[in-house]
């Protein structure tokens, strides 16, 4: 139970960074921290105390494995997170070219 709570605190740190920072790159970093926290929460739900990794071995007699379904879902989520981070960085570079700054309060005022 306390492990879930620590994971949610990590999520809230990322949320604070998205809500309160002025630089676009800091907002992208905050979104990255939110992604890590959500993936971690998924894998924490499927953990089984005293279980094994979900790979069959040659001389195995008892099947006592952790839950493999959350691991399958998180595996694709990690690579998709990388692609969306690259997309966000591309948009940030274009904004810098057009407006000359990374500051979001100034970008709202200019109409380019």
């Amino acid at each position: 139970m306390s492990v879930y709570f620590l994971c949610l605190i990590l999520f809230c740190i990322g949320l604070y960074c998205v809500l309160r920072k002025r630089n676009i790159i800091k907002i992208i970093i905050g979104l990255g921290i939110i992604e890590y926290a959500v993936n971690l929460f998924f894998v924490l739900i499927g953990y089984r105390a005293g279980g094994r990794a979900p790979i069959l071995a040659k001389d195995q007699v008892v099947l006592n494995m952790v839950d493999p379904i959350p691991q399958a879902l998180v595996l694709t989520a990690i690579v998709i997170g990388l692609a969306t981070t690259a997309l966000m960085v591309a948009i940030a570079i274009r904004i810098y070219e057009k407006f000359g700054t990374f500051d979001i309060t100034k970008i709202r005022k200019l109409r380019g």
Binding site: L10, I25, K26, A49, R52, P54
Partner: protein, 171 residues
């Protein structure tokens, strides 16, 4: 026990990433968070995820360092600074309160209800012939999700190539 220590290390590195003014140092701190996450995946008995998270973290760091050209801007304490910060903390406190009530309904840590996974574990080797159960789930039992993921990746790559296209730009 080591799970709690690794999570505390990740929280510490995340606080450092959020608060440091220099952009290059905060990107390196995010790299430390990702590395800690890879070790947590290893403690939670998920070797596929640990390998994938490690290499994806390295590529993400290289791409992020490219964007940290200029320095970070300081937080201006103009008119509505106090109201903004107080409302943010109020919102986060309300979120944590509701999360506490929701977390009480979950099964306790370490004893999941594996209703569907029992079937996959018991019949996975016989039905697909693969000994890596996670690979047999993402490519055989749940192939639709992998098809959707391939589509999302394709769209993201097309989006990046379309945004950064330059038609005859002179230096």
């Amino acid at each position: 026990m080591e799970l709690h220590l690794l999570l505390l290390f990740m929280i510490f590195a995340a606080v450092a990433a959020v608060e440091i003014k220099d952009l290059l140092s905060s990107v390196i701190a995010v790299g430390a968070v990702g590395l800690g996450l890879s070790m947590v995946f290893l403690v939670l008995k998920a070797p596929d995820l640990a390998i994938t998270q490690l290499v994806v973290e390295i590529l993400c760091l290289i791409i992020l360092i490219r964007a940290t050209i200029k320095k970070d801007l300081p937080l201006i304490r103009d008119g509505r600074w106090f109201f903004n910060t107080a409302s943010t903390f109020l919102f986060i406190a309300a979120f944590l309160l509701f999360a506490y009530f929701a977390l009480k309904e979950l099964p306790s840590f370490g004893y999941p209800i594996m209703r569907v996974a029992k079937e996959y574990i018991a019949q996975g080797l016989q039905k697909t012939g693969a000994t890596n159960l996670v690979a047999s789930i993402i490519l055989d039992f749940r192939g639709y999700d992998t098809l959707g993921e391939a589509t999302v990746l394709f769209t993201a790559v097309m989006g990046v190539l379309a945004i950064m296209r330059r038609v005859g730009r002179i230096k």
